[in-house]
């Protein structure tokens, strides 16, 4: 029995067990803790599968951001209606059983078919690896994201912007819930912010820079900076502000604009839209994307259109 197999089996069991507990467990708080653990296990699994780019993004978003989001939502729930935060006895539903059986059947069919198919040659992947040298990039993930499938990335950034606009529509008239600590006066927390903020910024910019040749890139750097932004919000260094500022709006649309420029600029030079312009252009677009992603995610967490400095 090889250690590799044991690792994979253990990881699979942990993942499925955690997911089951999150989905059907009755204690809300316990489910939140299991969800955070699930996010961490996911990051480990991406690392095991040899996908460091995905692990980087997942560690920040899955383990940090969404966990904190759920915890804050739970706090608000407890303050509004303590009864809802208690363990709920879920009534079994016949429809749920039918749907579960059908879903399991579908997954089994697709899975078994996929296992029985003979190995298809990976056409797109091979083409990417063959043409990667022409682009001068070393990281195939960045190549796919920005050069070969650039339109998809443009659409993804637009989705992020749309999500933010949607959240603004929903929260414009809601009462602000400031999830800050009274414990900001704690010297330990201020030390934490003082250490983590510069380090996170440095690591984020480093990930952006090396993303062209090694695992990294705009999404990973942006999600790390968003995590740092959430850290600042939770400790009271940053506070949500109701008055939307032009600078903040600029950073929100910077990513989409940069990608639009990437799409249209080649046309002005007489080439096809989204033709490759060089590493410099990619870095420029990625930098603006990183700022956009960080700002959008932080503002989504804050629930207000802008931020202001708290007591420092």
């Amino acid at each position: 029995m090889s250690a590799q197999l044991v690792i994979d089996v253990l990881l699979g069991l942990i993942l499925v067990g955690l997911a089951a507990q999150v989905a059907i467990g009755q204690h809300l708080f316990r489910a939140i803790v299991f969800y955070v653990a699930f996010g961490l296990a996911m990051a480990v699994i991406w690392a095991r599968l040899g996908a460091p780019d995905l692990a980087l993004a997942d560690a920040a978003i899955g383990a940090g951001l969404t966990g904190a989001l759920m915890m804050v939502a739970f706090r608000r729930l407890v303050e509004i209606d303590p009864k809802q935060a208690q363990a709920q006895a879920t009534r079994g539903s016949a429809l749920a059983v039918v749907i579960a059986v059908l879903a399991a059947g579908m997954v089994a069919t697709i899975g078994l078919t996929a296992l029985m198919l003979e190995e298809q040659p990976g056409v797109a992947g091979l083409q990417v690896m063959a043409t990667l040298e022409e682009t001068g990039l070393g990281n195939p993930v960045t190549g796919v994201l920005l050069v070969f499938r650039g339109f998809d990335t443009l659409i993804e950034m637009t989705v992020l912007l749309t999500a933010f606009i949607g959240s603004r529509v929903m929260t414009t008239h809601s009462r602000l819930y400031v999830a800050t600590l009274a414990g900001f006066q704690l010297p330990l927390v201020r030390t934490l912010v003082a250490v983590i903020l510069p380090l996170a910024s440095m690591v984020g910019i480093h990930l952006l820079w090396i993303g062209s040749d090694q695992p990294g890139g705009a999404f990973q750097a942006g999600s790390l900076l968003a995590g740092a932004g959430v850290l600042l919000l939770l400790t009271g260094t940053l506070l949500p502000a109701s008055k939307s500022r032009a600078l903040v709006r600029l950073t929100l649309v910077a990513g989409v604009s940069a990608l639009c420029v990437l799409v249209l600029a080649p046309i002005l030079r007489g080439q096809v839209a989204m033709a490759y312009l060089g590493r410099g252009s990619l870095l420029f677009a990625e930098a603006l994307m990183m700022i956009s992603i960080a700002t959008t995610l932080t503002l989504l967490f804050a629930g207000r259109p802008s931020l202001k400095w708290g007591r420092t």
């Binding site: 414990g183 704690l186 330990l188 927390v189 030390t191």
Partner: protein, 98 residues
């Protein structure tokens, strides 16, 4: 020679992490569990980082691992402090209401 040293560090690191988990499961109170978890886990992480630095063989790797360990120290310190404060505040308020 370096190999054996790294193996010793790795095994003792794993042992300390095991000790931390045991402490978390068996000790009677949340404060005791915090003690066991943070101290033993950080020591175990340090020993594992030392082992990996010996294996890595390059100064750059060792420095990165040192940075990761220091940050883990900071993170678990602040987390443990916050959890303990919250539990203490809850304990005090529950004691008052009885």
């Amino acid at each position: 020679m370096i190999d054996m040293l790294a193996l010793v560090f790795l095994i003792s690191g794993c042992f300390f992490i095991f000790a931390g988990t045991m402490g978390m499961l068996r000790l009677p109170d949340v404060y005791c569990r915090l003690h066991a978890l943070t101290k033993a886990d950080n020591l175990g992480l340090l020993l594992i980082c030392v082992a990996l630095s010996l294996l890595g063989g390059r100064v750059r790797v060792a420095l990165l691992l040192l940075l990761i360990w220091l940050l883990a120290l900071l993170a678990s310190t602040v987390s443990a402090h916050l959890i303990a404060r919250h539990s203490r505040a809850r304990q005090v308020s529950e004691g008052d209401n009885e």
